[in-house]
Symmetry: C2
Amino acid sequence: MPPKTHLTAEQRREKTVAAVVDLCANEDPASITTTEIAKRMKVTQGALFRHFVSKDAIWESVIGWVAKQIMKRLERAKNDAATPLEALKAMFFAHIEFIRERPGIPRLLLGQLQHSRSTPARLMVRQLLSEYRKSVEKQLISAQLDGELRKDLNIEMAATQYIGMIQGLVIQSLLTGDMQYIVDQAPGAFEVFCQGICAPPE
Amino acid sequence: MPPKTHLTAEQRREKTVAAVVDLCANEDPASITTTEIAKRMKVTQGALFRHFVSKDAIWESVIGWVAKQIMKRLERAKNDAATPLEALKAMFFAHIEFIRERPGIPRLLLGQLQHSRSTPARLMVRQLLSEYRKSVEKQLISAQLDGELRKDLNIEMAATQYIGMIQGLVIQSLLTGDMQYIVDQAPGAFEVFCQGICAPPE
DNA sequence: TAGCATAAAGTAATAAAGCGCTATCTTAGA
DNA sequence: TCTAAGATAGCGCTTTATTACTTTATGCTA
């Protein structure tokens, strides 16, 4: 059977999102054109507009997919852990694993944050990071109540540090141009983070 | 005396750099056009190309200026400090102060890191961050030798954490759209960072 | 020191290329 | 057979860069 040329609208939208995520792995999101997306999907540029009313709508779909993926993986990681601190660790490595699978993710999200104009996509990124942060703070609070963390630890600061830890790794990877760096350095980074927030041994 | 309309090439180049840095405070660097730069300088778009051979050349000048500023301020901060750890703290706050004065700086550098294509400007950002990191690691090593830091601390990880700390604050600021956040949160962030790397009190 | 020549800075218009998007026709597949 | 996906072609707009012309500042000479 020859490969289907005419996909359903639903399938085509999924392929489009995948194509954009892939392109972000090697390119500045701001410079990705509809022509380029179409070329990677082996359709003509105009065909994209059968399934999306505008380019902005494509970005909305992309961010929507990313947000869903991240939160789903975070939730799964959390549920498999015994203690709050272990849950936080699992969440961290779930994020790292997602980046390893889809190296375009950091660029993609960072690219949206760069705009100052409030597109729907940008609002969705804000929403995502807000939820993400809340999720981290929740674990930190639980861990503190359980006595795993220092009593005087500022939860907000610790959450910023947590997000910064990932960002620091991402920046370093963008420099080297290789996301494998993140995977290699992640365990050590989390260890240093822990030593900053954990209660000192009795 | 009426304001000079015809500036020297040198003065015009400086004004151009300043205009771009200013624009980055409220806009995605990737979307800044030569027309926009010219408008802010009150000259016509074509006039820019008397002083820069291309738009890329403008970015080169901008990054050059930023790099020089940052390293200059870092050096000054370092020299005024008594201990290595205090020097690191001074460097941190010098960076924060620079961002406060020029809120476009994080967007600007982040924007360059987003490209994967190796423009001269991008290489300059790589160079800058590499020097920056080296400078941080140097202070960390000194501090460790002086017994201010934990003996088993991984210096590379600590440096990544340091850069991540700034990045975490920047991300949060990009979300709120207000760089004042960084200034307010900086002292607390540094404190958490210190607790992670410093030697436990005897 | 007035006047002028000249080099450099700036203007205005436009070329060339690429962008998002659409209207119209064609074809695959249930 | 008929509907929805895709192809084709092109429109209107924006962007970088160039060109031909004009204005400003300055140093030199009489």
